[in-house]
């Protein structure tokens, strides 16, 4: 088989999870870490091999073929069947690269960051489990397999957030993450079942027959026709339900509440799971179901757009007021994922425009941003890890002026900040600019809102940057404990990720301005055909100028030793600052809704009914059986001769009865 080795991409991490999970505690830390890292290294090599082979293979009519190296039926259910397999197409291969690269960097980085921690082996076991499940999620051949790995990803996220389980906040955060995403996944499951019930299929086989640009019917026709005749809104409903599941995983408003708390986990975990890979599962899911969305639910796409816009704005606003550096990065992640969601949502101006090049733009841009964001955000998180490692605190109060202590971290952090801010020649520029262009084509309102949010992004990222590396130095804390540069195991991943960010940035920016082919659009596009990225000079110039202006503003406010403007703003709008710092009271609202309304008005009566009626019935039955037993009990006297008399009497009685009959 041509792609037979792809099975090892899933099996190797599973194997290392089993080995480390079962025998890890008997190993030395180094051995356990090496096993995890080596298997991940092999997975990375295999992923790059797959990508190379896949993208260099011959295309048919200029379209990459969908390849299914493995697919077997796991559970037949009448018409439906639940398969397990591996599916290769441009987006899944692209995700392979992202996941394996970031995961490998995190594995290496953790050698330094987790050095000497209790449970080091357990940590690596969970990392392997997570990598396996995430790879299984992107390689799934059908929605049900995706859902299964989706839950596995949720479990490994839960385990890793709660890694420091003796600490109360870690446990609370892990539970919160699990419950919130599980709540959202309930809708995902309902969506899957609705979809499967009406179409008799869970398969992604439609993805092979790409819709855009081809004009052919993409589905196993009978099945989709059945669903459409059953009701025009069935497929859109199923898709929106699935989107709710995706929104939970991708921390879209108002299901975002778990992500900031998830920062209680070890920082490399935040980089891997809560920045680069798991949280984009929702985006990936929409990209996966994309042919369905545009064919059957183009109107429902506007839900995705507006949820994305609201989330992006909300998270950017909150990020401006946080003081915990990991929280800032968490909200920035939420905001950036919302960018991707918006990009996917806006890729459809209308049916008539399907053949339009711009219609494809959003899809390509969303995936492109997923790729670049994974790299620079992982770098930012790992950088934050180095800083936390150096100053032993998450709070910006203890930082400031760190640039002279930590040169490597400083430079890599700065480059990643420039990338996320959208400065040309850094990778974030190309992808974000494409997103804004796509939004402008969808509707100028959305376009300008997104431009504004991009400006906010640049502002809060540089507020963070100046707060950490410039600004007021906390001399007292630093004299007590001088910050130091992180060891090589921690800085090398930073450098690798920065090089990727810079390389991709320079290549795609030049390519976009000069109209080269062979950029990201050549690999991933909605139609599967080559898509040449072409910057719209007007939009590119606008967003660059706005980004630079917001960076200048952040520099002006936060660079100095004292920050009079920030203080004055804080004094002028104390309520606003407090609201933003408290994340606009979202957690309190959820707390109120769940505890005061749902628990009190729904759960309490149900609990009463359960305790008194349901339990009461069974308690009554048990009581009856018990009483009957008690009354028969004296018959068992323990006196054998008495039994014999009873036995004899019975036998005689039986004989008499039989004789009479």
């Amino acid at each position: 088989m041509e792609y037979g080795y792809t099975a090892f991409i899933l099996l190797l991490p599973l194997l290392s999870f089993l080995v480390l999970g079962l025998a890890g505690m008997k190993m030395q830390h180094k051995v356990a870490g090496l096993i995890g890292t080596c298997s991940l290294g092999l997975v990375t090599i295999l992923s790059y091999m797959t990508a190379f082979q896949y993208f260099t293979a011959d295309r048919v009519n200029g379209i990459y073929q969908t390849i299914v190296p493995y697919n077997f039926t796991w559970l037949p259910l009448g018409n439906l069947h639940f398969d397990m397999g591996i599916l290769l197409d441009p987006i899944s291969v692209m995700m392979l690269i992202v996941i394996s690269t970031v995961s490998l960097m995190v594995h290496i980085y953790s050698f330094g960051y987790m050095h000497g921690e209790k449970g080091f082996q357990r940590y690596y076991a969970f990392l392997s489990l997570f990598t396996m499940s995430m790879l299984g999620l992107v390689l799934a051949t059908n929605i049900f397999q995706m859902y299964m790995f989706w839950e596995l990803v949720g479990v490994s996220s839960y385990l890793l957030i709660g890694f420091y389980y003796p600490l109360k906040p870690a446990i609370a955060a892990s539970k919160k993450a699990f419950i919130v995403t599980r709540f959202a996944d309930m809708f995902f499951l309902i969506g899957i079942l609705t979809f499967g019930y009406y179409t008799d299929s869970f398969s992604f086989s439609f993805a092979g027959d790409i819709v855009m640009g081809q004009g052919t019917t993409p589905f196993i026709e009978g099945n989709m026709a059945k669903a459409v005749t059953a009701g025009a809104c069935i497929i859109p409903t199923a898709l929106v339900l699935m989107f709710i599941g995706g929104a939970g995983k991708s921390a879209m408003f108002p299901l975002h509440i778990w992500l900031p708390d998830a920062m209680e986990g070890p920082t490399p975990v935040s980089a891997l799971i809560h920045a680069a890979t798991m949280v984009v599962a929702g985006v990936y899911q929409i990209a996966r179901m994309f042919p369905l969305w545009i064919q059957y639910a183009p109107e429902a796409m506007s839900i995705v757009v507006w949820v994305g816009v609201i989330t992006a704005f909300y998270a950017a606003a909150v990020a401006c007021a946080q003081s915990d550096i990991k929280r800032v990065l968490a909200f920035s992640t939420i905001s950036q994922i919302a960018f991707m969601m918006v990009a996917l949502g806006v890729s459809l101006p209308g049916h008539e425009a399907i053949l339009d090049n711009h219609a494809q733009l959003g899809y390509m841009a969303g995936m492109f941003h997923l790729f670049t964001h994974a790299m620079f955000k992982a770098c930012l998180f790992l950088g934050a890890g180095c800083i936390i490692h150096a100053v032993h605190s998450n709070e910006m109060f203890y930082m400031g002026g760190l640039r002279k202590y930590m040169p490597v971290t400083h430079v890599t952090f700065l480059i990643s900040c420039l990338a996320i801010a959208g400065i040309p020649f850094f990778s974030g520029f190309s992808s974000k600019d494409e997103i804004i262009t796509a939004c402008m084509h969808y509707s100028p309102v959305v376009g300008w809102i997104m431009t504004g949010i991009a400006a906010m992004t640049a502002f809060y990222m540089f507020r963070l940057y100046y707060g950490i590396f410039w600004g007021t130095e906390n001399v007292e804390a630093h004299e007590h404990h001088t910050p130091h540069e992180a060891p090589a195991t921690m800085t090398i991943p930073l450098i690798v990720l920065t090089v990727i960010t810079l390389g991709v940035g320079i290549y795609t920016t030049l390519g976009g301005f000069l109209g080269w082919g062979g950029s990201f659009g050549a690999f991933v596009s909605a139609s599967g055909q080559d898509y040449t990225i072409h910057f719209d000079p007007q939009i590119a110039a606008t967003s660059t100028i706005i980004a630079i202006l917001s960076i200048c503003l952040a520099t002006y406010i936060y660079k100095g030793e004292s920050q009079p403007i920030a203080d004055r703003l804080y004094k002028t709008f104390p309520k606003l600052h407090r609201a933003a710092y408290k994340r606009f009271y979202q957690d309190e609202i959820w707390q109120y809704v769940t505890h005061r309304i749902i628990f009190r008005c729904v759960s309490t009566p149900i609990a009463w009914f359960d305790r008194h009626v349901v339990d009461g019935t069974f308690n009554f039955l048990a009581w009856g059986a018990n009483e009957a037993g008690e009354s028969i009990r004296p018959w068992q006297s323990g006196d054998v001769r008495q039994y014999a008399v009873w036995f004899l009497t019975g036998a005689v009685a039986l004989v008499l009865i039989l004789l009479c009959i």
Partner: protein, 102 residues
Amino acid sequence: MIPVQYFLVLSALLFFIGVYGFISRRNLIAMLISIELVLNAVDINFAAINRLLFPGLNEGFFMTLFSIGVSAAESAVAIAIILNVYRNFKSDTVDSITNLKR
């Protein structure tokens, strides 16, 4: 030839003696002996009735032999149990085995 009624009377006597002994005795060994009496009554019935109904055939006698074999095995097991009871309770009467009683 001895009439069959004599055998039946003997076997009925043995049976009721056995039952009476089983009910009235406290000693485990005595109870075991009583059971053997009951079994012997059955054996006699087998043999006598076989001779009465099927004079040239031997099935009833074989059944008697079989029954004797089984009762031998049964008494071996019973004696083993009685020995264990004696070891545990330092007594060989049925009244002492009342652990299951509350």
